[in-house]
């Protein structure tokens, strides 16, 4: 994997298009997984993923070869994806659903709530975990997903979050205990009904 990453940055430095194609081939799945788990919606993950890679390409065009060679591709891409996600959340909160025209509403339906297909998926254990994850506050969800879905080290999570390693560890830890509490509540609720 390390050897592969090294080749990838060399390729990026030599030939942007070939390097970017390899970058997409190797890392598209991880970026999609990250966005799917933080957003909880396949349609949003798809859109934001496209957006993140488009930004990455535009940025790479402006980088000199030495900088492309020095890149840590996965952490760098995840930083972009996390920023794209934060921007998306921020602009959505500025455009609340209530002021939307009725004509535009159908475009948003697939994104707002889990659809029938998502609900069917949620029936199993994995679905319950995913549902609990989407109820986690956004500032815990990103580090938890980075650490436990994408499988990054705490150092990488800290780098993406722009905080010290200790803070990243604390965020993941609090996120995980919240997640566990959400799941326990849910189980108790099921027993009660």
């Amino acid at each position: 994997m390390e050897e592969l990453a090294e080749q990838l940055t060399d390729l990026l430095a030599q030939d942007l298009d070939a390097g970017f194609t390899e970058l997409v081939r190797v890392h598209a799945r991880a970026v999609h997984a990250f966005l799917l788990r933080v957003s909880g919606s396949a349609a949003e993950a798809d859109d934001l993923g496209q957006d993140a890679f488009l930004r990455a390409y535009t940025a790479l065009q402006g980088y000199p070869p030495e900088r492309r060679r020095a890149l840590q591709p996965r952490a760098w891409l995840m930083t972009i994806a996390a920023n794209v996600w934060r921007n998306h959340v921020r602009s959505n909160s500025r455009r609340p659903l209530s002021v939307m025209r009725v004509d535009d509403a159908p475009d948003m339906w697939s994104d707002a709530d889990p659809g029938p297909a998502d609900r069917a998926l949620n029936a199993d254990d994995r679905g319950r975990l995913v549902a609990a994850l989407s109820r986690l506050p956004e500032y815990y969800r990103v580090p938890v997903v980075l650490r436990h879905v994408v499988g990054m080290s705490y150092a990488e999570v800290a780098q993406i979050q722009g905080c010290p390693v200790g803070t990243a560890k604390a965020q993941v830890s609090r996120g995980m205990s919240d997640l566990r509490r959400l799941l326990t509540w849910e189980e108790e609720g099921e027993v009660a009904t």
Binding site: E22, R25, R37, L129, A170, V172, M176
Partner: protein, 273 residues
């Protein structure tokens, strides 16, 4: 960092009681492809690939818009990621998953008529290319011995069989270059590039009756003639299979057939015409 040890606990717990629960969910199959299209990477900079079903299990096929550039059976736990890496190391091109196979590919696989499929052989020498092209001309449901291949590919007879076997073992287009239709002289299949089960599955899907082939190889006969037309063929040739049992005349070699006044079939070419 006093909480370091404390913080390790939740992770290991989740990891142990729900392994892979938070693992990577599958991305849409053409997610990467749409990124490349949106960014505007020229189509000739990368290959796309599909996973198709064959009698021998899944088959990864990579292609450009015109040519097939590689095919690998998904046996032995070969994952899509591994196939991408293999393709990259063999051809130096990135393979991006897609949902749309190359036009004509599905038909070729279904009917077994792979002769007209356009292949980009990639980094192979002239000898390998000649062998692969010759294998491609073996019709579906028929078998040809190594000596036939050596002759069709115009190889020097001295090193023929070994060279052919070596090329077949590294066949970069399994199933599409149908090396399961190649046998040793006595009729047993080579299967240089397949596990035996995969080769058998592919042959029986094409309607090759292996019991009959074994019977032939045990009897020592290599060619089959018809006493009405006085033409002799490879036993699996479409023309040989039409001979009614009463008129079948087996031969153990071409000279014997010639002495009996028979000529070689022009479609399966048992000897150089």
């Amino acid at each position: 960092m006093s909480g370091g040890d404390h913080n390790q606990l939740p992770a290991s717990q989740i990891g142990s009681d729900s392994p892979g629960e938070l693992g990577e969910p599958p991305a849409p199959v053409d997610f990467a492809l749409r990124i490349l299209q949106r960014v505007g990477i020229p189509r000739d900079r990368y290959d796309t690939y599909v996973r198709l079903d064959t009698a021998a299990g899944g088959l990864f096929v990579a292609f450009t818009p015109e040519l097939v550039t590689g095919a690998v059976l998904a046996t032995g736990g070969l994952t899509a990621e591994r196939f991408e890496e293999l393709h990259r190391s063999r051809t130096g091109r990135s393979a991006i998953p897609t949902g749309t196979p190359l036009p004509g590919l599905l038909t070729a696989l279904r009917t077994g008529r792979v002769r007209r499929l356009s292949l980009d052989l990639g980094p192979v020498d002239a000898l390998e290319a000649r062998v692969l092209r010759a294998v491609q001309t073996i019709p579906a449901g028929q078998l040809r011995p190594l000596s036939w291949l050596t002759r069709e590919a115009a190889l020097p007879p001295a090193r023929g069989a070994d060279a052919v076997l070596n090329v077949l073992a590294h066949n970069p287009f399994v199933v599409l270059v149908p090396c399961h239709r190649v046998t040793y002289e006595h009729g047993a299949p080579c299967d240089a590039a397949y596990l035996p089960a995969a080769g058998d599955a592919l042959r029986s899907a094409e309607g090759v009756d292996m019991a009959e082939v074994h019977q032939w190889s045990r009897s020592g006969a290599v060619f089959l003639g018809s006493d009405t037309t006085h033409i002799y063929c490879h036993p699996t040739c479409a023309n040989a299979r039409r001979i009614t049992p009463a008129h079948r005349v087996p031969f153990t070699n071409a000279r014997e057939a010639r002495r009996a006044g028979y000529r070689a079939c022009k479609s399966c070419r048992p000897v150089a015409a």
